[in-house]
């Protein structure tokens, strides 16, 4: 089953993508019907949606690379929190230049991911457990570093009085809008991450290695794919994306919250799968993940615009996720 699929990969991916479009179109149609007094037809609603999904989308970019390789990365939400706290700590109380902090935090994310990749590739531990351990560890470290409190722009002195810290311009630059206030900068960051993932998966040798590894690990190993390096790269890339997302989150909240990003990994996985990338690896691609991101984002937006109760939202999200996946599978050629 997996071998012919691996051989026909480009065509299968295309079909998966076409199928991924249908749930998105269905949800857009729902939005047009339940348009909340025409709010759905205003561009600002869509600009807001594109901002809201960006952080999740950035995580989903890294997640796609990991899932294509046949793995899973549960640590991205916690890493996001750790990186948000680290970035806020470095820039606010410690007052480091934003550029330096940016590089340090991106390196931290990539290093944490690479460590997970090392444990998975070199010691052959299951990705589920390794990244679960990193999930717990990174959240603990975020709380330890921040002392359990949000790292904010207010610093308490020895006398108990609060002083306001200077906020580096990078914060407002990341949370700004461009093109006449029509597009958020974080959306552009998401687009850049998606572009980078596309280059990695489609235009680099490592991309072919990743697909080969996810399609059939044994065959890939025998045909000379550098398995350890490739896996390390996949998780490091995912960690890097989590760091980018963490910096965007800190910039948008104007603080480093050690609790932020909890549960985001599940949204990121759902987005990747909604795009038609198989959890078993070896297929799919970033373009379809972007569609998955928009599908889940628009679903949340339509429910939110119409002020559905949270209970109903959770149930509807579950039902629609299953329907979307069933719909994809039904049209799979047997």
């Amino acid at each position: 089953m997996s071998e012919p699929l691996a051989l026909r990969r480009p065509r299968v991916a295309l079909r998966a993508g076409q199928r991924a479009l249908l749930p998105l179109l269905g949800i857009l149609l729902l939005g047009a019907i339940f348009n909340a007094n025409g709010a759905f037809f205003r561009w600002q609603t869509h600009a807001a949606l594109l901002r809201e999904v960006s952080v999740y989308g950035i995580l989903a970019c890294g997640m796609t690379v990991v899932i294509v390789s046949g793995g899973i990365d549960l640590a991205v939400g916690s890493l996001l929190g750790l990186c948000a706290v680290s970035f806020a700590l470095l820039t606010l109380p410690l007052g480091l230049p934003a550029a330096l902090a940016l590089v340090a935090v991106l390196a931290l994310g990539a290093a944490a991911g690479a460590l997970a990749g090392f444990l998975i590739a070199r010691l052959q531990l299951p990705p589920f457990i390794v990244t679960l351990a990193l999930l717990v560890f990174a959240r603990g470290l975020a709380k330890q570093l921040s002392g359990g409190q949000k790292v904010s722009t207010y610093l308490q002195g020895a006398d108990g009085q609060f002083s306001r810290l200077a906020v580096p311009e990078l914060y407002s630059q990341l949370d700004a809008r461009v093109l006449g206030g029509n597009l958020s900068v974080v959306t552009l960051v998401f687009a850049a991450c998606a572009g980078l993932s596309w280059v990695v998966l489609q235009r680099q040798r490592v991309g072919r290695y990743l697909y080969a590894l996810g399609g059939n690990a044994q065959a890939a190993r025998l045909s000379g794919v550098p398995v350890r390096a490739t896996l390390c790269f996949a998780y490091a890339f995912s960690g890097f994306c989590a760091a980018v997302a963490g910096i965007c989150q800190a910039a948008q909240e104007l603080q480093g919250d050690p609790e932020t990003g909890a549960g985001y990994e599940l949204d990121a996985i759902a987005m990747v799968v909604l795009g038609g990338t198989r959890l078993s690896g070896g297929s799919g691609g970033i373009g379809w993940t972007v569609i998955g991101v928009l599908t889940l984002g628009y679903l949340q937006k339509v429910l939110s615009l119409n002020a559905f109760s949270s209970e109903l939202r959770l149930m509807l999200t579950g039902v629609i996720l299953v329907l979307a996946l069933l719909f994809q599978r039904k049209s799979t050629p047997s």
Binding site: A36, N37, A39, R42, Q44, T45, A48, R51, E52, V55, L119, L123, Q124, L125, A133, F137, G140, K143, Q144, G147, G148, Q149, K150, S152, Y154, Q156, F162, R164, D175, R177, Q249, Q252, E253, L254, D257, E259, T260, Q300, K301, S304, L305, A307, S309, S310
Partner: protein
Amino acid sequence: MHTRRGWFAGVALGLGLLALSCERKSAAPVGTGGASTSTGGPAPKPFLIGVSQSNLGEPYRVQMNADLAREAKAHPELSLVFKDAQNDSLRQRAQVEELVSQGVQLLIISPKEGAPLTAPVAAVYDQGMPVIVLDRRVEGDRFSVFIGPDNRRIGQAAGKWAVSALAGKGKLVELEGLMTSSPARERHDGFWEGVQREQNPGIEVLFSADTQWLEPNARREMESALAAHPHIDLVFAHNDPGAHGAYLAAKAAGREQEMKFIGIDALPQEGVQYVRDGWLDVTFAYSTCAKEAIDTALALRDQRPVPKEIIVGTRRFEAGNVAQGGVPIEGL
């Protein structure tokens, strides 16, 4: 295979050691008195207090522990031992038993949930040890004192403020906390009792959503509210981070001047600073009750009479009074 297992054991051991060291750190006594209880030396006689905290994930609870430690510092004979139950009732139950066997002389507990911790608290109380229950209640009356703020009354104060700020007429957005948690429900109920809708029919809810206390969620919901409604007079958020998320959304839409913002909690590094910055119109303190807890602990130690229940009042913080530390609210 052997080496792989060895690696795994090493990693597990490392993680375990790390967890242990964290645990030890958080359980370290605060204050100048030693952890030993047996010495009956000259005054001041050391007095060991065990503090069982339900979790340290919420900034409010981190603040509560910090406030307790600060208040205890003024009394050098007091020594505090903290335990964090990490939001797990059974772990908290075990930690209560640990504290007792560690020889604490008084227990302060902020329980995760009332029902599962009623029996452990009662068992400690029946041994003759004074128990102060903080913030959340346990069932029955087998504890010494309950000390807590009243979410419903805080909600009522916020509702009254909203009516007077809107002069009885206006469109509002309510950004709720986690509605399955009792603070969110009580703040919601109290708010609408304070608004008295029968007498103020001009107050209209445009939009309400559950934010689970989270700022990113509040910002997202507020963006939807802004998109669906061309005019909003007031945002009532169940916590200050929710108000902050709403403010950021309104600011991005260039509509932050159009509406007033109400928050709750007034933590010194959050809500109070937001009022100081000028965008948050009002916030109501949800006290950590630390001063009351330490005062009560001293009274219990000296066997002075204490009431069974102490409801700690709220303070209102607005631009005009934030420099003076807010004003107490009458009748609360």
